[in-house]
């Protein structure tokens, strides 16, 4: 159905033209799912944009090769004729459902326009077709959704609208570029299942682009592994996973965090008998945001972001907060770091923050440092990285300039960078290196607790594995405790001593890592664990765990706080909320 041969995509940069995809050839048969997997910069997204004729203009172009759809050479088509192919015979869905729909046009308008541009249907027929498409992606109350605007829908719903839009005209080929990367795991499962079902019904050929080997194992018939713009291996799903031929594929598969593999380490550590004083102790933490409304702008509703969360972290220990977006895990971390007003008690190193003055609070804050999700956005692009790492020392007035430089140099070496890199600027580093710089910055004050908020989520798996290894080494060296926040259950299982599962601002289950993962007791925890795609094609599921309904809203009327969940000890410190 689709034949790509010798495809080369070049991008014009400052140093002349550079090939980002070189000599790529593959075929795609009707009803087949081809996964293109690879790490960032491997050229997988450029390939899909080249097929759609949507390469960023004027920098990028197809410099060699052909893309044939049936007997049509897409690379030779004029823009006008390509418009007739796009959305009609080849459709695409993108990674970011939150920004991929136009905010000022209704869902119906956007769907119907996609249908009308390629058919001669009357307004009423196009509308009927749109409703049919929304029903096909299992959106409840499809008809009334047409009037809604994108901001009124959740991320999962928006991605379904995108899929409905792409499949409304029953295209021959569907390109899905990281369609579930931005979604929560339970929603990811639903969307993947939906794609698979629709493909079966309509016989669409699918190109699925992903970095997630779990998704590959779940979906693919055939796999192409790409690296630096070249295809380095292709084969059937079982060949790739069971008999990888190339070292890089083996490394890639080896680096994927797997559930169930981290248990031995975790249980060995938690067997230590002595229980030292906690580094951080959180009691009944509440964070609420007021929403104003009405004539006088009074508080009419509140967002109950965090509702009575309690936990403690011991030195040398890693506590992970897991849960889906909006569950309050990042808010908890921010309150702990003193970035948000809160109520409840937070004690750091035995000192309750509430009773302290400004200067004392600043001194205590030295003991807590944060590493954020986006290593690109969390480093000031106008400062040399050495200064960035030294800045916390400067702020807290520690050491002479010479001592600071020495400490920064030592930190650079410790996190795997070289001393001569201190003079460089953030843009000269890769994502993984930047995250190392952020780690060095967090370590500069020798904190007792480091909060890592989705700190490895933006990294490629191989880089992610190395950064996680570094974090573990640093922990055993400095005895620092981690509060690790992640949506990735496999990563959490690998790094954590203790895990707390959050849902709607409350902890529903907490215990040692092996307790929670091997013996999940709360239904929500079970659903979260089941939803994670397993990087093993032999364990492919026919049905994913499905949410009965959308996650409830944490926004409530004033005077109507949510019921407090009571945690029960089901044995050996394993706490589970009544359900």
């Amino acid at each position: 159905m689709l034949t790509v041969s010798g495809l080369t995509v070049s991008v014009r940069g400052e140093e002349g033209e550079r090939a980002v995809v070189s000599d790529l050839s593959f075929t795609l048969a009707r009803g087949e799912t081809l996964c293109i997997a690879g790490e960032s910069g491997s050229g997988k997204s450029m390939t899909s944009l080249a097929i759609m004729g949507l390469l960023p203009q004027p920098q990028a172009r197809v410099s060699a090769g052909s893309i044939r759809l049936g007997d049509l050479d897409l690379t030779a088509l004029s823009e006008k004729r390509m418009q007739a192919v796009r959305g009609n015979r080849v459709a695409m869905i993108f990674q970011e459902p939150m920004t991929s729909l136009n905010p000022v046009l209704s869902i119906g308008r956007q769907l119907i326009e996609a249908i009308e541009v390629h058919t001669n249907l009357s307004g009423g027929d196009a509308r009927a077709r749109a409703i049919e498409a929304l029903k096909a992606v299992r959106i409840p109350e499809a008809e009334s959704r047409l009037k809604q605007f994108p901001h009124e829908l959740s991320g999962g719903m928006r991605q379904r609208v995108m899929i409905a839009m792409a499949l409304a005209l029953k295209p021959d080929v569907l390109i899905a570029d990281e369609p579930t990367t931005a979604l929560d795991v339970t929603v990811q499962g639903e969307v993947l299942e939906l794609l698979r079902d629709l493909q079966r019904e309509q016989g669409t050929a699918v190109i699925l682009i992903t970095h997630d080997m779990g998704v590959v194992a779940e979906m693919a018939d055939r796999v192409i592994i790409m690296r630096n713009g070249r295809m380095i291996e292709q084969g059937t799903i079982t060949d790739i996973f069971e008999r990888p031929q190339v070292d890089y594929t083996r490394e890639l598969l080896g680096a994927v965090p797997r559930m169930g593999s981290g248990r031995a380490v975790a249980s060995g550590k938690s067997a230590e008998p002595a229980k030292p004083a906690a580094v951080a102790e959180v009691r009944e933490l509440h964070v609420r945001f007021d929403l104003h409304g009405g004539f006088f702008g009074r508080v009419t509703r509140r967002v109950h972001a965090v509702e009575g969360v309690s936990f403690s972290i011991a030195p040398n220990e890693t506590l992970s907060l897991v849960g889906e977006s909006g569950c309050g895990k990042s808010t908890t971390a921010k309150a702990l770091a003193g970035l948000l007003p809160y109520s409840g008690d937070i004690a750091i190193g035995g000192r309750n923050l509430a009773g302290l003055g400004r200067d004392e609070r600043k001194a205590v804050r030295r003991d807590i440092q944060m590493i954020f999700q986006d290593p690109y956005a969390s480093l000031d692009p106008r400062m040399p990285v050495g200064d960035l790492v030294a800045e916390p020392l400067l702020i807290h007035g520690i050491g002479t300039p010479k001592e600071r430089t020495d400490r920064v140099a030592a930190l650079f070496e410790r996190v795997g960078l070289t001393v001569d890199q201190m003079e460089r600027y953030p843009h000269e580093f890769s994502g993984g290196q930047r995250q190392r710089i952020c780690i060095a910055r967090a370590l500069a004050l020798r904190p007792k607790l480091i909060i890592a908020d989705e700190s490895v989520s933006a990294l490629d798996v191989s880089v992610q594995a190395r950064v996680l290894k570094l974090l573990k080494e640093l922990q055993s060296e400095f005895g620092v405790a981690y509060l690790f926040i992640s949506h990735d259950m496999a990563v959490v299982e690998n790094i954590s001593d203790k895990v707390a599962v959050m849902y709607l601002g409350q902890i529903v289950e907490m215990g040692r890592s092996e307790q929670v993962f091997a013996n999940p007791r709360h239904p929500y925890t079970k659903r979260l664990i089941e939803a994670v795609p397993v990087p093993d094609p032999a364990r492919r599921r026919t049905r994913f765990a499905r949410l009965d309904s959308e996650i409830a809203s944490p926004v409530r009327r004033v005077g109507d706080p949510p019921a407090k969940l009571l945690l029960q000890d089901v044995g050996d410190g394993h706490l589970v909320a009544a359900h």
Binding site: F94, P103, V117, M165, A166
Partner: protein, 306 residues
């Protein structure tokens, strides 16, 4: 919606009260003496003093302001010192001319500015883009009396398409509106261009292209409504800018609007007229902003009025 409007109107009243206090205080502190202007050079000190008493200008500031405010609340803006007629009458007779000019100018600047910005963004980096942006730069930086005189010379004197000055038919309004509009068009074209370029980079534009939509549908249906929002907010603020432009343009074209009225009043320290014109301008600005805020939710459904 009604609650929102009520609240905004109460806010507007408070703003106008503030404007009236500040303007009144500034005029009170002015070294120029209105009584001397009225009485003339040859008047005796006794005449001057009696005029001062007659106008109540010998009273303390608070008393003067209080009297002004109470009159204002009953709709009375006072009498002109020089022109011997009610300020309200003077303003009402002049206002339509200025409103015509303002509407004409807004139409000019939107038509010219938005078109230029749209074309420049769609053809970003091309020679067209650069030419348009040089044009907008000239529009922004050229003084209005120069632009006005230039337009007069070319289109009225040389080509004879429009009358040289005066007021009456729509032809009279073209050149003054254009003069006022060119400055705004310069700003709007730059704003529109950058806003449009920003929008064209968004993911939903890529989605629209992936649907196979034609270029004009993407530009006008998907990009324009998103890009125009900051411009709409700007129009509200812009009315303030007009007020200063109007004084210049009205005197260049001999346009009988409140700009000229204000100009004459300032020269002769005719305090009631200055106050009246200032309050009317402030009203226009406040209403303009309110209007821009009310229009916004119709363009972007995410905006809610509360």
């Amino acid at each position: 919606m009604i609650a929102y409007l009520t609240r905004r109107l109460i806010q507007a009243a408070l703003i106008l009260l503030g404007v009236s206090i500040i303007t009144f205080a500034l005029l009170y502190l002015l070294p120029a003496d209105p009584v001397r202007q009225i009485a003339g050079r040859s008047a005796t000190p006794q005449t001057v003093e009696s005029i001062r008493q007659q106008l109540g200008l010998d009273q303390p500031f608070v008393v003067q302001y209080w009297r002004y405010l109470t009159n204002l609340l009953s709709g009375d803006l006072g009498r002109s010192y020089i022109q011997r007629s009610e300020v309200t009458e003077l303003i009402v007779s002049r206002l339509p001319a200025s409103l015509i000019l303002m509407v004409g100018a807004i139409l000019c600047e939107l038509a010219i500015g938005l078109t230029m910005g749209l074309i420049a963004a769609a053809k970003r980096g091309s020679a067209t883009d650069q030419t348009l942006m040089v044009g907008s730069f000239i529009g922004v930086s050229a003084p209005q009396f120069v632009v006005g005189l230039l337009l007069l010379y070319v289109f009225a004197v040389q080509l004879g398409w429009f009358p040289i000055g005066g007021y009456g038919t729509w032809q009279h309004a073209v050149l003054p509106s254009l003069t006022l509009g060119i400055l705004g068009a310069g700003w709007y074209s730059r704003m529109m261009r950058s806003s449009m370029i920003d929008v064209l980079r968004q993911d939903y534009i890529r989605t629209a292209r992936a649907k196979g939509l034609a270029r004009h549908a993407i530009l006008f249906r998907h990009a324009l409504p998103n890009a125009i929002l900051p411009v709409v907010a700007m129009i509200g603020i812009d009315i303030g800018l007009f007020m200063s432009g109007i004084v210049v343009v009205e005197s260049v074209f001999g346009w009988p609007g409140i700009g000229q009225l204000a100009w004459q009043a300032i020269q002769r320290v005719d305090i009631p007229i200055i106050m009246g014109v200032t309050l009317v301008s402030a009203c226009a600005i406040v209403l303009g902003n309110l209007l821009a805020d009310i229009v916004a939710p119709f363009i972007d459904p995410r905006i809610k009025l509360r």
